[in-house]
C-alpha cells in the first residue's frame, strides 16, 4: 500500500496569511477529488511568531504532518523563515522563496500568500480550475480581483523561473 502523495509546507510569520494559503490549497485538493490532510499549530503563533502549515494530498493520506526532509515543496512568505523551514524539504525539493514575486509588483502588500500559491500551482498536477475555485470560495468578493491578479502574477513568475515544462 504505497501511494504517492504530494507534501507541501508553507511557512511565514503570524499575520502573513500562511494558514489562509494552506486552506485554499487543501480545499483545491478536495475539489480535485483527492484525499487531503492539513496540519498547523494555532495559538501563540497569532502573536507574530513563526507559523508553518503542512498540506498533504493524494489518493490516501495517513499522518497529517509532513515528515522532516520529505516535503516536495516549501513555500516561504518571510525571508527570516527560509533557513528555519528548509530542513523539511527533501533533497531535490522545490523552494518557493518570498522574493520570487517582488514586493512592489504585488497588487496588494498582503497578497504575497496568494501570489506564491500561484507560483506553487505551476508545479502541481492539481487543475488550475480547482485552485481558482478554492480561491473564490475563501476570499471575500471585494478582494477577489486583487487576489486573482496576485495568483496569476505568481504563476507567471514561476513559469519564468522554472520554465514552462516544470
Amino acid at each position: 500500500m504505497h501511494e504517492t502523495i504530494t507534501n507541501v509546507v508553507l511557512a511565514g510569520l503570524g499575520g502573513q496569511g500562511v494558514v489562509k494559503a494552506s486552506d485554499i490549497l487543501a480545499d483545491a485538493a478536495r475539489r480535485a477529488g483527492l484525499d487531503v490532510k492539513k496540519a498547523e499549530i494555532h495559538g501563540m503563533s497569532q502573536r507574530g511568531g513563526s507559523v508553518t502549515s503542512d498540506v498533504r494530498f493524494g489518493s490516501r493520506v495517513l499522518s497529517p504532518m509532513v515528515p522532516r526532509g520529505e516535503a516536495d515543496y516549501l513555500l516561504v512568505l518571510a525571508p527570516s523563515e527560509v533557513d528555519v523551514a528548509r530542513p523539511v524539504l527533501k533533497a531535490g525539493g522545490v523552494l518557493i522563496p518570498p522574493d520570487l514575486v517582488p514586493e512592489d509588483a504585488l497588487p496588494h502588500p498582503r497578497s504575497l500568500n496568494v501570489a506564491l500559491l500561484g507560483a506553487l500551482s505551476h508545479h502541481l498536477a492539481l487543475p488550475e480550475a480547482s485552485l481558482l475555485a478554492a480561491l473564490q470560495a475563501a476570499i471575500p468578493e471585494r478582494l477577489l480581483e486583487v487576489n486573482e491578479k496576485a495568483f496569476a502574477l505568481g504563476r507567471a513568475a514561476a513559469a519564468r523561473a522554472w520554465g514552462a515544462g516544470a
Binding site: 495559538g43 501563540m44 499522518s63 497529517p64 515528515p67 528555519v84
Partner: protein, 540 residues
Amino acid sequence: MERKLLSGDEAAALAAFDAGVALGTGYPGTPSTEILEAFGALGGRAQWAPNEKVALEVGLGVAYGAARALVTMKHVGLNVAADPLFTAAYTGVSGALVVVSADDPGMASSQNEQDNRRYAVAAGLPMLEPADAQEAYDLFFAAIEISERWRIPVLFRMTTRVCHSRSLVMPRTQRQVPPSACFERDVGGRVMIPTNARPAHRRLRAKLAEIAHFAEGSALNPLQDGDRKLGIITAGVAYFHAAEAAPAASFLKLGMVYPLPLERARSFAARVERCVVIEEGDPVLADALRAAGIAVESKPEMYRFGELDVPRVRRILARDESPEPAAPTGKPPELCPSCPYHPVYAALKQLDCIVAGDIGCYSLGVLEPYRAMDTCVAMGASIGVGLGLRHVLPAEQARRVVSVIGDSTFVHSGVSGLIEMIYNPPVIGHVVLVLDNGTTAMTGHQEHPGTGRTLDHAPTGKVSIEGIARALGVPSVTVIDPFADPGGFERLLAERLAARVPSVIVARHPCVLAAAAIRKWDKLGTERREAISCTACAEE
C-alpha cells in the same frame, strides 16, 4: 452529501449539532476553543462559562434533565472541572454528557503536557479518542450512544493535531432527534451523601465492567491484519503516524482508550512476533496492557516528551535512542507592537517588581525586552502566589510583589484569590493588577462574563471587575488606562506599592487586535436593544 474539509474541532461540533446536543458550554483553551464557536455558528446553543468547573456543572444539569450536553475544555481545564467530574461518574446522567478534553502534547500553547487519559482511569469514565476529523465526527455519536446506554458521562480526548488538522469528513445525511428533556427524580442516585454514594460507587464499577465487555467486540477498536512480524497497538493521531511508518504491520487501533479491550489486545499480541505500543505522552496504554500480563513493548522514555510524528515512530520501531535532530527554532511570539500592556510591563520593570503572573497573552511579558514576570503556573494562581510571597519575603522584597492577572483569567478563578487577600491580608498589603483588554485575547478573542457579551457577541449581563473588588471590601480600587497615560500608570503603581494596604488596579484598554470588532459588537448590541424596546412599545 459532499465531503467537507474540517478540523477535528469543527467535525466534533458538526457531530454535536447533528446529534441534537441541546447545549454546549466550556471555557476557551487552545486547542479546544473552536468547537463551541463552530457549534454556535451551526446554530447550536453554545455558551462560554466563567470556568471549566461551572461549565461541567451546567452540562451535568442538562444531562440530568435527560437532554444531550457537550462540555469543552483544554487538558488543564479538566483539572479545574475534576471535582464535579469524579462524583458525576457516581451519579451518572439521564441524558448524555460528553466532556471534551483537548490535550496538548508538545505544549504548542500550554503550561504542561499532562496526559488526561489518566483522568478516565482515575474517575472511572469511558474515554474515546479520535484520530482525525472523520473519527471526531463518528466517535462523537458513539460517545452519545455510550453515555445514554450506560447513563454515564463520557470523556472525549482530542489532541492538538486532531483538533487543528483538517481532513475530509463525510457527514450523516440526517440530524438525529434526541429524546426530549424531562426531570426524573432519583434522590438515591443523585444526592451523593455517603449512604447513597457507597452503592453508587459499586454501580459505577458494574457499568465499567459492562463497558469493558462491550469494548472487546466493538468496532471502535478495529483490528487490521498485516505482517505477523510486527503488531502495533495504538490510538489517536499516533495511529496515522504508525500506519505511515510501518504500512505492512498488523494494527489494533483503539478508539476507546478506557476501559481497554484487554482480551482482544492479549490475542492480538499473541498472534504477532513483536508487539509495540505507539502512543503519545505517558505510557498509559503500555502500562495497562503490561499490568494485565500482556507482553508489549513500550516506547523508550525519551518519546514521552513532545508530539509523535512519522520520523519519531520510525525511531521507536527501530529502538533508536540516539539524540534527535534539534527542532527548528523559529521566531517566538511576542506582545503585539501596539499592545496596551507595553506601558504596564515597562512600569513593572522600571519599579523592579517581583511579578506573580498568570495565563494569557500577557504571559509574553516574560520575554525580552521586559522579562517582567517571575511566576506563571495556572489560571488564577497569580493572586495566591503573590500573597504567599508577600507573607514570607523580607520587607524590602515583599513590598515589590505584584500579582498580574488578565480580565478573563480574573473571572475564571481570580475572584477566590481576591477573597483570600481580604481574609488573610499580608501585613504590608498587596497589589493586584488586573489587565483588562476586554477579551480573552490569547485564545482568539472570546467573550467572557466581564465583556457583557455572549459567545456570539450579543449583549448580556456584564460582571464588573472593579465592582467585585469593591464588594469584597478591597480598600483601594482604581481603574486606569495605562495606554493613554503611561506616566500616570507608573506613578499609581509606585504609590500602591508603598501604601501597605490591599489594593486592586484595573488597567483597562481594549486589545489592539479586538478593538474594532468590540466597537462593532457594541454598536450591534445597542441597535438590538433599541429594536427590542421598540417592539415592546409597539406591543403594548
